[in-house]
């Protein structure tokens, strides 16, 4: 992040998002989770989303780091960092990247709860969040 911030003298905005594991989901206490991915496709999907964001907004650079494997509550799952000249484009690109990551990048969460393990179901609200970007085209 420091390297992106200092990469060029006209960086005026650094927008960052961090997603964390919560200890509660769908009414159950979550003691941990395991994140599965599709080696190869996951990296390609993230690179593709970043490239689309760079094509759509006037930003300088974007970075995505996503964890896999075993995670505990308050562990950081995902980091998105976007640099640009101004905050508007940086904020928007950061949200765009997260919305597409949530709906297109092949990751799957399996939660450990009091009642055992369960796969997290995809949420329609995540599809809605992505949809708004195509409506504004």
């Amino acid at each position: 992040m420091a390297r992106m911030r200092m990469a060029r003298p006209d960086v005026g905005a650094v927008a960052a998002f961090i997603g964390q594991v919560r200890d509660l989901n769908e009414g159950s206490e979550v003691s941990g989770m395991t994140l599965e991915h599709y080696p190869g496709m996951t990296e390609k999907a993230l690179e593709g989303i970043v490239e689309r964001a760079k094509g759509r907004w006037d930003i300088f650079d974007a970075l995505v780091i996503h964890r896999i494997g075993a995670l505990k509550p308050l562990d950081q799952i995902v980091l998105v960092v976007v640099t640009g000249a101004h905050r508007g484009e940086a904020f928007a690109a950061c949200e765009y990247i997260m919305d597409y990551l949530k709906t297109e990048a092949p990751f799957w969460k399996k939660e450990q709860t009091d009642a055992g393990e369960r796969w997290v179901e995809a949420r329609a609200s995540d599809d809605d969040a992505k949809q708004r970007w195509s409506e504004s085209d």
Binding site: G19, L35, E36, H37, Y38, G40, M41, K44, A45, H66, I77, V78, M98, L101, K102, T103, E104, A105, P106, F107, W108, K109, K110, W119, V120, E121, A122
Partner: protein, 84 residues
């Protein structure tokens, strides 16, 4: 021959992560491949007859059910993604 990969809940339901198989000539797209796999019965029938949402990728690109399958491709099936 094609390579088939299964992920997450689907992988557990089917009890297999990947396989290499020869498919009949009349199995030419994702929809037809799903119908063919469903014929294995049991969990395969449950998972591939459309009761639960599935996504497909060919050579690591998301595709819809009409996408064509060619010899040598890598096809993956998985539930809707839940990362982030």
């Amino acid at each position: 021959m094609i390579k088939l990969l299964y992920f997450a809940r689907l992988r557990e339901a089917l009890g297999i992560a990947e396989e290499e198989i020869a498919v009949p000539n009349d199995v030419a797209d994702i929809q037809q491949l799903m119908a063919w796999l469903a014929q294995r019965g049991g969990a395969w029938q449950e998972e591939f007859t459309g009761c639960r949402p599935l996504r497909a990728a060919i050579n690591q690109e998301l595709v819809d059910n009409t996408a064509a399958i060619h010899d040598g491709v890598e096809v993956a099936f998985f539930p809707p993604v839940t990362g982030g």
